[in-house]
Symmetry: C2
Subunit: 120 residues, 2 copies
């Protein structure tokens, strides 16, 4: 099952670092394809916010001559949201704690996005 | 003149790194307060996209339990857009080249945002 394989990639990603709290694969129209979220987070909300940020981020990148968008990172006082394109049709959204080492997270997330892209 | 002092902070910021291409201080409602942009970039466009990203980024941070938003980073194939809160009323938007060293840029931009916050 492809959904099981996506979930397996997300479980592995969440396991690479104690600072990764949640992850999900979302179609570019905002529907959840696979998710490993804590109970406190609603799948639909993560999907909707990811799709909205992706859409506006893409437009911003184009309007400001940054070309095709690869990633959006939001830093809040209580942690990070990192959205990464996984091919044309999906985005990998990851939530991390405020003390996360961004260099490591970027690396692990990039690898996971690559695996997801190959699968979809 | 406060506008001159803001422009001076931006000139200094753009001078810290050859990878910083442009910077601007924008009110939270999207109006430009000071800008050091290349001719190819329109002030109104930078202002509007910054305000829109800031608004959606804040909402995303809140909806996904990341608290108050500090920064949004967009990575495109042709470079970065980094938006940083400079106090309650303004945002510092910086455009950087794709080969920029993010750690250095984050540091310089944080300092500039602090100076802007104290000035406004």
């Amino acid at each position: 099952m492809r959904a099981d394989m996506l979930t397996s990639i997300l479980k592995q990603l969440n396991g690479t670092s104690a600072e990764i709290e949640a992850s999900g694969v979302i179609s570019t129209d905002g529907l959840m394809m696979a998710a490993e979220l804590p109970q406190s987070l609603d799948e639909d909300r993560v999907g909707a916010m990811s799709a909205a940020m992706l859409s506006l981020g893409s437009r911003t990148a184009q309007e400001l001559d940054r070309g095709h968008m690869d990633q959006v990172l939001i830093k809040g006082e209580k942690g990070y949201v990192l959205m990464t394109q996984a091919g044309q049709d999906a985005v990998l959204t990851v939530l991390a704690k405020p003390n996360a080492k961004l260099g490591l997270i970027f690396l692990d997330v990039k690898r996971a996005a690559q695996s997801i892209q190959e699968l979809i």
